[in-house]
């Protein structure tokens, strides 16, 4: 398992994706939840794909007291409120597929 990014070496990096129609308050909504749970944002980028806003945040959960499952639930209900789809996944799901 050594070649996997273990949580100790790399912190606990997650990738949060937001997909949906653009509107006021999306970034504030997402970052508000992250800040409240001591999750540090490392990078944000966004683009428009097929008329939808696609926003990707890379964040570090190492100091957070909640687990990924709880965070996913919180983000998901915020997404419903904002009319967009918000998901959070462990970074390895992407790194393992796209990087050797």
């Amino acid at each position: 398992m050594k070649y996997l990014n273990t949580e100790k070496e790399q912190g606990k990096r997650i990738i949060i994706t937001v997909i949906g129609p653009d509107r006021v308050g999306i970034i504030a909504g997402v970052t508000g939840i992250l800040a409240a749970n001591d999750i540090n944002i490392l990078d944000i980028s966004q683009t428009i794909m097929q008329e939808f806003l696609v926003m990707v945040l890379i964040a570090d959960m190492e100091k957070s007291k909640i687990d990924l499952s709880t965070l996913k639930d919180n983000l998901s209900s915020k997404g419903e409120e904002l009319g967009v789809r918000i998901d959070a996944q462990h970074e390895d799901a992407f790194k393992f597929m796209h990087r050797l």
């Binding site: 996997l4 994706t17 990078d43 499952s69 959070a88 462990h90 393992f96 597929m97 796209h98």
Partner: protein, 452 residues
């Protein structure tokens, strides 16, 4: 740093193209559960399965959430029960099947494989009892899957066992007639069976395997289809390269999930099975990949060549992505579980003979095929004999999972629902092979020089 395109590619694969981990399957050795008293043996079996696999389902669900990729099935494979039960005084092994069913229910898995026997050269006392118990076991349990290996390249074909399997399959169908012969969907007849296959119904924990192990089966026909559609009109080199790259990405997911699950469950990681496993969902079809390559319908001329390219490119890409590849590893072509295959049969493009030809170049074999209910046991045995002969000569795994649907005729449908899907009843040849099948004995192992 990952790019936004890469992240979106992964998200699209899961959300729109049906990428999933088809199964994480825990293999469990049950040889130490043998006991002269069958009830004591069953108690040990139940205790061992529930102890080792107790966390399988919650761990699988947690990983699926963390990585954002569905793990569709969590399953268990065990040592072939013919080996475990042989030293018991039981004459009927139904009690062992019922124990497996209860254990599977207790830990929350939907299938448990290993009500199995390896009889490619001959049948022991325990094997014979297991084979006799298969019809009652499949009719009387919900989750138990059975498999029988009747041929290998090194041993030849045990035609006595093939003939017997023809009769057993008929018996299983009639005992589950009220469910369109569903029991037959849980019974696979193999040549050169792999010992580490995570896919049902043919999974069991082979005798060369460790105490327990975690194997993973990936999926992703929808992802491959979308990738193939993007290179419409390009040459075969580009096509093969595209499939390879896509298979690589799919397999990496399997490797990640498999290793993580093994670590959390405290068992060794076994293999990733890089099979393309279709589901009845539209867009998740192997037949549609072949059609995206330029065939008007799966089953027409050119299908075998297209499948050969697909299967080989999947293996090349998958082998690069995982440190251990095993199991069946190829493209599955089950009829009832693949919307494109069903359509091809309905439109008269795909017949049993072409499916048999396709199995020469891909994994497994005649899979989930419904034939008329009045198909004789000898005819089914002859279909099995043809298929295992392909495996024996070509040094590959082949298998038959066939449903002689009680009371059904060509043009009718069998409906199993869920991942098992629905299948149109396909015609078989009307000329008899009974005198051939009835000869008995073994077909000798083939020579592997002088190969033409």
């Amino acid at each position: 740093m990952l790019t936004i395109q890469e992240i979106m590619e992964t998200i699209t694969m899961v959300q729109e193209e049906h990428l999933d981990i088809r199964t994480i399957t825990m293999g469990i050795n049950l040889r130490d559960c043998a006991d002269a008293d069958p009830r004591a043996a069953c108690r040990k079996i139940y205790d061992k399965i529930t102890r080792l696999a107790g966390n399988l389902v919650p761990v699988g669900e947690k990983i699926a959430r963390e990585y954002g990729i569905p793990i569709v099935n969590k399953r268990i494979s065990v040592t072939p029960i013919s080996i475990v039960a042989e030293s018991s005084q039981a004459d009927d092994y139904l009690i062992f099947a019922e124990t497996l069913d209860r254990a599977a229910d207790a830990v929350g898995v939907n299938f448990i494989g290993g009500f199995s026997a390896l009889v490619h050269k001959g049948i022991t006392g325990g094997d014979a009892k297991l084979l006799r118990s298969i019809p009652a076991a499949l009719a009387g349990t919900e989750r138990v899957c059975a498999s029988v290996n009747v041929a290998t390249t090194k041993a030849g074909i045990n035609m006595d066992a093939v003939a017997l399997m023809g009769r057993i399959i008929k018996d299983v169908a009639s005992r589950t007639a009220d469910r369109d012969g569903l029991g037959c969907a849980k019974l696979v007849v193999f040549a050169n069976v792999p010992e580490d296959n995570p896919f049902m119904a043919g999974a069991f924990h082979g005798v060369g395997e460790p105490e327990s192990v975690l194997n993973v089966g990936v999926s992703g026909p929808g992802v491959v289809k979308r990738a193939v559609e993007k290179v419409k009109g390009s040459d075969f080199g580009t096509l093969a390269e595209t499939v390879k790259k896509t298979a690589f990405k799919i397999t990496r997911m399997g490797e990640l999930v498999g290793r993580t699950a093994a670590e959390r469950l405290g068992v060794p990681f076994g293999i990733v099975d890089i099979s393309l496993a279709p589901t009845p969902a539209v867009g998740d079809s192997v037949a549609e990949i072949l059609e995206a390559m330029g065939l008007e319908r799966c089953g027409t001329h050119g299908t075998t060549a297209a499948l050969a390219l697909l299967n080989d490119a999947v293996k090349k890409g998958g082998a690069m992505a995982s440190s251990y590849v095993g199991g069946l590893s190829g493209a599955f072509i089950p009829v009832s579980e693949d919307a494109g295959m069903i359509r091809a049969v309905e439109e008269g493009a795909l017949h049993l003979d072409k499916l048999e030809a396709m199995t020469c170049v891909c994994s497994v074999g005649l899979d989930m095929i419904a034939v008329p209910g009045d198909t004789g046991a000898e005819t089914i045995a002859a279909i099995i004999a043809d298929e295992v002969a392909i495996g024996m000569i070509n040094q590959k795994t082949t298998a038959v999972r066939i449903i002689p649907a009680p009371g059904k005729h060509v043009g009718d449908y069998v409906e199993f629902g869920g991942l098992l899907g629905r299948a149109p009843v396909m015609p078989v040849h009307r000329f008899s092979a009974a005198d051939f099948v009835k000869r008995g004995g073994r077909i000798p192992a083939p020579i592997h020089s002088l190969s033409n």
